[in-house]
Point group: C2
Chain length 347, copies 2
């Protein structure tokens, strides 16, 4: 089959690789219907997250079960399923707690030795603990399928950030990051009942989506001016809940600067760079909570799925460029250069 392989920074290729097969009785082989490129894939693309030459890449996908190992009880050939961005056994104490990302038997698609999502097929370990079934009819609904793909990462990650930020009915929320996760954070905050949602961003294509997803205010300023603008919108105090969906020192500083005393930063941007952007003295004096991390999206899919199916939420607008497998390298380039927000792949 053909799959996306990263050979070096900025060297993404689509090439022939061995077909996946059932290796463990708990495996499923899945034919990928839709995949996509994540903002976090760009850290590998840019060489900021090290990869071995020849590693697969891509961790967001949905598709059709082609073959199921004999210990798989929940899925059979022909099932339409979505995969979260890590697999997990579904049976350990962490999985029982919903913290599937800490499963000792879990792993990340595209880690050395595993398949990545940006290819024609994937071997899925611990299929019963990992996959979630989707209605078969969704396969024929182009927009719905795109929307469901967001369950694999960005929607659940945005939801995790909103929970981390403590969003509840009536909350005031500020969102740092205008990428797909930040936008899904806006959607998740709205879904959890936030009354006021302030999106920070200066690219109208993105802030328009933020508004469509529920943002009540957009702050286009940067740096100190952005902090002042958010404070002006919040009686000079800042937002009770801040979603940090970037992961840089600067974005964390911004988050700290716009959160109200006693509030919380829900952080889901993968930390990168040398500094954390956290000033513990300030956090201490102002009682700021930091809560978040890698999102256990598998746990959130059963809660979010019905809202997508009944049309309550539709995250599909975060995908603004569609490519076939051959177009994946160009898709990386487009996201790296910010000419695309998020690239949908139809293998």
């Amino acid at each position: 089959m053909r799959a996306t392989v990263i050979h070096a920074p900025h060297d993404i290729r689509v090439q022939e690789v061995p077909d996946p097969t059932i290796q463990q009785p708990t495996d499923v082989v899945l034919r990928v219907l839709r995949a996509c490129i994540c903002g976090s894939d760009l850290w590998a693309y840019r060489g900021e997250s090290p990869r071995q030459p020849g590693q697969r890449i891509g961790h967001e996908f949905l598709g059709i079960v082609e073959e199921a190992g004999h210990e798989v009880s929940g899925f059979a050939a022909g099932d339409l399923v979505v995969a979260p961005f890590v697999w997990s056994d579904g049976t350990c104490t962490y999985c029982a707690d919903g913290l599937t990302t800490s499963c000792a038997q879990g792993g990340f698609w595209g880690s050395a030795g595993s398949d990545g999502g940006q290819g024609e097929a994937v071997r899925v370990p611990f299929a019963d603990g990992t996959l979630v079934k989707l209605p078969a009819a969704a396969a024929a609904d182009e927009r719905l399928l795109t929307s469901l793909l967001a369950l694999s990462d960005v929607l659940g990650t945005g939801h995790h950030a909103a929970l981390g930020a403590g969003v509840k009915p009536g909350s005031t929320v500020a969102v740092v990051g205008d990428g797909a996760v930040g936008l899904c954070g806006v959607m998740a905050a709205k879904r959890l009942g936030a009354e006021r949602i302030i999106a920070l961003g200066r690219h109208s294509a993105r802030t328009d989506i933020a508004r469509a997803f529920g943002a009540t205010d957009v702050v286009a300023e940067r740096g100190e001016a952005a902090l002042a603008a958010v404070r002006e919108l919040t009686r000079g105090e800042g937002a009770h809940c801040v979603i940090e969906a970037v992961g840089t020192e600067q974005s964390m500083r911004t988050a700290t600067g716009i959160v109200r005393d006693g509030g919380a930063i829900g952080y889901v941007g993968i930390p990168h760079g040398s500094g954390t952007g956290l000033d513990l003295d300030v956090m201490f004096d102002r009682n700021i909570t930091l809560r978040g991390g890698v999102a256990p999206v598998r746990t959130y899919i059963p809660e979010l799925l019905p809202d997508i199916l009944d049309g309550t939420i539709d995250p599909s607008p975060v995908f603004d460029l569609t490519v076939g497998l051959d177009g994946v390298p160009g898709g990386y380039k487009a996201m790296d250069e910010r000419t695309a927000l998020k690239v949908l792949i139809k293998p």
Copy 2:
């Protein structure tokens, strides 16, 4: 009157100062019955927290109202009251939310221009928002009075840490720090229903108190051995809830090392030193929450007071040395050298 004054690091003196008077109609002048020395006073004593020469010091006290300004409605001469370690107006949005430590009109006893608690009397600004009335009969009960003094800081701070750590019925809690706040953290965790409480400490006089306050296990090891010991007590996973009551880089590292994935560190140790001890990559991968800060103890007094009055909890054992005003400099020395846990002052 006489009060404690800090002139320079290690230069604490008890000397004549002007008698406090009503300056604002919302003031109260309070005659101090009991005060004490806080572990955090030692940062000033050691020169690690800068002070202007001649500043007052001491932020934990209770006493009798001597005179009340004409806008004070809740207190009259003769009332027995306890003061939290910051004053607050009781009327702003932060006070309404219970975050009295963020009150814009609030302040810290002993800050430049204000009275400190380690003296014969104190001018209390915003008395209605700050003080809490105690039963008059308590003044005649030596042990009860000592126990009630813990409401001014250490008990409420331990409670804040326990809340930050997310302690609830059945929780497993580990406590870093064997000072009065750490010990009160043990007590607060027990009070909130923790099932297992692991106290880290190697001084039996302190760990004995920890056990009396509810600790089920004591870990005397240090460094890596301490982490291993806590993990061994927690199925290899760590504690869901960790109370950090020291504030050093090393203590935060320990806290991070013993918290379970998905757990929370409730931190109340005032950060000091050059590093935070926080590794954001680790916190991200393991979904560790950091929640805490300066404790709004005023908010907690009404909840904790009844439990002291009815004997459910008795934090008085954290006071292990009693001095008069003349003995205050020696009390600092004893705490600095760790020959005393916490010094009670009878002015």
